[in-house]
C-alpha cells in the first residue's frame, strides 16, 4: 500500500479539470481558435479573476498567439481554448484568426503574399 500523496499542486488531468470546471472543449466563438490565432486583451485584469484568466489577460497586452500562450502557461491547446472562450464571452480579450491564403470563393490575396515576401527578404 502506498502512502497518501502529499497535497501538492494538482497536476495533469486533475489540474485541467479544476481549471476548466470539468469542461472538455470550448463552445461558441472559441471553437474556431487556431494555434496561430492572436489573442489581445481588451481590458486590464480585474480583482477576483481566476488566476489563469488573469495570467492570459496580463500576457496578451500585446497580441500573442494561442500556441505561445499555451507554451508559456504550460497548458494544452484544448484546455486553453476553454479558458479563452470564457474571456471572449466576457469581452476581456479579442481573437484574430490567421489570415488564410485565400478565403473561400475569393482569389489568393496577392497583396498579403507580397507583404510576406518582402518581410522574408528583409531577414
Amino acid at each position: 500500500m502506498s502512502a497518501p500523496r502529499p497535497p501538492t499542486d494538482p497536476s495533469g488531468l486533475e489540474r485541467y479539470y479544476v481549471l476548466t470546471g470539468g469542461r472538455s472543449g470550448p463552445g461558441g466563438s472559441a471553437s474556431s481558435l487556431d494555434v496561430a490565432t492572436l489573442i489581445v486583451s481588451l481590458t486590464a485584469p480585474v480583482p477576483g479573476m481566476q488566476h489563469e484568466h488573469e495570467e492570459i489577460v496580463r500576457r496578451c497586452r500585446d497580441p500573442l498567439s494561442v500556441a505561445e500562450l499555451g507554451a508559456h502557461l504550460g497548458l494544452p491547446f484544448n484546455i486553453l481554448a476553454v479558458l479563452l472562450a470564457d474571456l471572449l464571452e466576457a469581452g476581456r480579450v479579442d481573437a484574430r484568426d490567421p489570415i488564410p491564403a485565400h478565403d473561400a470563393g475569393r482569389g489568393p490575396d496577392l497583396a498579403l503574399l507580397e507583404e510576406v515576401l518582402s518581410g522574408l527578404q528583409r531577414l
Partner: protein, 201 residues
Amino acid sequence: MDFKGFDHPGRPAGGGTRSVKVMIAGGFGTGKTTMVRSVSDIKPLTTEETLTQASADVDHLIGVADKTETTVSLDFGKISLNESLMLYLFGTPGQERFWFLWNGLFKGALGAVVLVDTRRLASSFRAIEEMERQNVPFVIALNVFPDSKNHPVDEIRDALDISPHTPVVACDARDRDSSRDVLVALIQHLKDRSAVALESR
C-alpha cells in the same frame, strides 16, 4: 474602465497586428524542428494537445483499452515580418497518424514546406500525400545532409511522384538564410499559383 498600463502611446492597443502560418512537414528526422529553430526570431516553443478518444479505429490496440490518451506536440517559431504581421511556423508532429487529431492543423495555413531527406525519400511520402489530400500548396525542400548524394532534381521529382508545378529546392535546414530561402520559394510559388488562377478566370 481601468485600462492602466494598456495604453501604448502613439498606437492603439494591440494595433492591427495579424498573423499568418506556414506548416513545416516531412517525415521523422527530416529536419522540421531544425528548420523552425534556424529561422525563428524567438526560441522555438512547443505547444501540446492532450487528446482522449475512443481507440476503436486503432486495430492493434483492440482489447488493450477502450480509450487512449495521447499528447501530440507542435514545435513552433515566429518571424516578425513587419510591425504588424507575424509569421508563425509550425513543425508537424513526427507521427503523421496524429495529424487528423489537430483540428484544422493545416486550415488557415498559407502553405507548407515538405522536408525530404534524399537518403530516405520514402519517409516523406506520407506528408506529401497529406498535403495533396488536404489541398495545401507546398514546396519540397531537400534537406542536404553531409552524406547525401547529389541526385538530379528531376530524378527526385520522379521518385516522389509530384506535379511538375511543385517547386523542389535544396536547403540546409540548420542555416537561417537557407531556410529563409525555402520560405521565399514557397511564397513565390503561392504567388505564381494565384497569378495562374487569376488568368484562368
